[in-house]
């Protein structure tokens, strides 16, 4: 295995993109909206976070919370129209990439920031062999010739542990199992040794045993290459083993950001509390499993006040009237956007949903 890695010529990082103090990515007060016939859907409303070298950030939320849109905004692949980035900055190695020309951004996609999608069967092109699709990265970005690029593809397929890589390089996506397809997707994404890897629900479409293997592979690759990894998921179970930090998203906002263990031990936002209570736990037998009541809000009609208030068990008048609470520091190295964050954290918040 080690030899295969050497053959990949990891090479020095690009001169142009050098992180300062290990900081790779800064997302700063990002706003994204989709202008549809039904009105403007405010998908992202002031999201900020950062990512360091070798750091793993999990972005966690229900579908429609804006986590995938955040990833697509960083990649610069939001369809416009209907999608528009209406505010904020995305700084990669200190440069706001939103101001760059399309050509320069294209040069970042792949060699610098890369992405893995949820459903590898539809995310890989059905009519081209998998080796061709991996080799395309080398051919387009590095101008490698056909046979060298294909050799590199084989090496990569070896690296992501696809058995019989050389024989299967000319096979088509539909001829692989789900797990193998996701490995190929990963091979495409890491081909050019990117500094940032975004994985959008990389294991959602897979069996549980395969999920663990894929997460293990991602972790391994990340450590080997010191990549910054953004892991987008709705599955708390996936996050625990892999992530360093968690950002909880709700209705296009980050509502809590904390270290994985801090958050698991005690969430500071009622939404996080609800999420944690909704996973079955071995140590709490016999207790009723609770789900968060209600549905995420319609993004064209986000309720006034704190967007979570209609579903919140602690909601008071202030939550319905005041503007959405900003993220504020509630403990060392953790922020939450709740009027009663300290109380929630201390387990002393007053329930208002039971009379």
């Amino acid at each position: 295995m080690a030899r295969a890695v050497e053959e990949l010529e990891l090479g020095p990082r690009s001169e142009q993109w050098q992180p300062t103090d290990g900081r790779l990515l800064d997302v700063d007060d990002l706003f994204v909206e989709f202008r549809t016939r039904d009105g403007v859907a405010r998908a992202i409303n002031g999201v900020s976070f950062s990512l360091d070298e070798g750091d793993t950030l999990a972005i966690l939320g229900e579908s429609g919370s804006g986590k995938s849109v955040t990833a697509q905004a960083i990649m610069g692949i939001i369809d416009s129209p209907p999608g528009f980035i209406t505010g904020g900055e995305i700084r990669y190695c200190g440069t706001d990439i939103l101001t760059l020309s399309e050509e320069k951004r294209r040069a970042i996609r792949g060699p610098e920031i890369s992405m893995i999608f949820q459903d590898a069967l539809s995310a890989l092109n059905p009519v081209f062999p998998v080796g061709w699709q991996i080799a395309e990265m080398f051919r387009i970005h590095r101008g490698t010739n056909k046979s060298d690029a294909l050799d590199a593809a084989v090496t990569l397929m070896d690296r992501v542990s696809i058995p019989g890589a050389r024989q299967r390089v000319k096979s088509f996506p539909h001829q692989f199992s789900g797990g193998m397809r996701q490995r190929i997707m990963i091979a495409v994404a890491i081909a050019l040794d990117p500094a940032v890897l975004i994985a959008d629900e990389p294991t959602t479409a897979l069996d549980v045993t395969v999920q663990a293997q894929i997460m293990g592979l991602l972790k391994e690759l990340q450590e080997e290459r010191k990549m910054g990894l953004i892991l987008i998921t709705h599955d708390l179970g996936v996050v625990a083993d892999v992530a360093d930090r968690i950002a909880l998203m709700y209705a296009g906002r980050i509502v809590e950001r904390a270290g994985v263990f801090d958050l698991y031990r005690r969430p500071a936002h009622p939404y996080g509390e609800g999420l944690l209570e909704s996973i079955p736990r071995l140590d709490q037998k016999g207790e009723e499993l609770s789900a968060i009541k209600g549905l995420p809000p319609n993004l064209t009609r986000i309720p006034p006040g704190c967007p979570f208030n209609p579903r919140c068990r602690y909601a008071q008048d202030v939550c319905r009237v005041d503007p959405p609470p900003p993220l504020r520091e509630v403990a060392p190295d953790r922020v939450a956007a709740c009027h009663f964050a300290e109380d929630v954290l201390a387990g002393e918040a007053v329930r208002t949903d039971v009379r």
Partner: protein, 306 residues
């Protein structure tokens, strides 16, 4: 791929048998094959007896059909009203019709696909609406109307093109070929646009963008092949429509091909000639369908690589 090809060919056999049987049965078993043989009057019994003997109509249906099939395989399509071999008549006329069809398919593929791509890439813009509206207009005008109008406007009023194409030269066949292509061209344009638009929304296109490919490469490489699958299938299946259109187009422009032979035979109430010609066209159509199926297998690995 080999297995796939063999399977498709095997599947084709019952269809060929069924189709020829239906044609045969409707003509010789159920219909009156001596229709029009004796002018407007019914044929004398002696003639009918001789005719029945020649075409084995005195034998059981399946035997008749088997004998007919045997003749068909030897290229014997019977004799026409004037005593000429239908097969020879067709063979003389096929080159012209093939030339006409080739011109039509060329226009259909080149202009149709180009218009479809332009519209699809600029979805929602002016050029898109222009393509969509003009193709809609073309689709709604039957080919014989387009033909006669083209003849009136470009042949007679403006004098840009020859009014008729009696000799069947390339220059003469240009306008008829375009007329014949018009309907299919419109469909090809719309189909290309639709599948391009659909494919541009596919997940793998998003992947292609995330791979840092240029928009041109995304369209030219990653959606082109996928969109082509539907279009190639359509063009193949549409050969059947072109054949029907050829009868009309050749009549309008006086082209001495298979179509006008069918038309003339209709007017002379020469059933043997009509049936022979149409049987051949249907068989060609089936063969083209088979080819398209095989091509489909080449273009879409999901079909052939199981």
């Amino acid at each position: 791929m080999g297995q796939y090809a063999i399977r498709r060919i095997l599947q084709m056999i019952p269809v060929v048998l069924g189709t020829t049987f239906i044609i045969y049965a409707s003509v010789f078993a159920l219909g009156d094959p001596t229709v029009g043989r004796c002018g407007e009057r019914a044929c004398p019994p002696a003639y009918i007896a001789a005719f029945n003997a020649e075409y084995n109509l005195d034998k059981p249906l399946l035997v008749q059909y088997a004998l007919y099939l045997g003749k068909l395989m030897h290229g014997d399509l019977g004799t026409s009203f004037y005593g000429n071999s239908v097969a020879t008549e067709l063979a003389n006329r096929f080159p012209t019709t093939i030339k006409l069809a080739a011109i039509a398919v060329f226009f259909e593929a080149v202009i149709g696909i180009a218009a479809g791509i332009v519209a699809g890439v600029r979805k929602g813009r002016f050029i898109d609406s222009l393509v969509m509206v003009s193709t809609l207009v073309v689709i709604s005008i039957p080919v014989f109307v387009i033909g006669t109008l083209a003849q009136l406007v470009f042949g007679i009023k403006l004098g840009w093109f020859p009014v008729t194409a009696t000799q069947g030269t390339l220059w003469q066949l240009l306008m008829p070929g375009f007329v014949l292509a018009a309907l299919s061209l419109a469909y090809v344009a719309r189909l290309t646009r639709t599948s391009l638009v659909e494919n541009l929304r596919a997940d793998y296109v998003r992947t292609a963008k995330a791979k840092g490919l240029s928009r041109n490469r995304v369209i030219a490489v990653h959606t082109w092949r996928n969109s082509l699958i539907a279009v190639v299938t359509f063009i193949g299946l549409d050969i059947g429509g072109l054949m029907g259109g050829a009868v009309v187009t050749e009549r309008i422009f006086n082209i001495n091909g298979v179509g006008s032979y069918i038309f003339r035979s209709i007017n002379q109430k020469d059933a043997t000639a009509v049936v022979g010609a149409i049987t051949v066209l249907v068989l060609i159509y089936l063969a083209v369908n088979l080819l398209v199926d095989l091509l489909y297998g080449v273009l879409d690995p999901r079909i052939s690589h199981d």
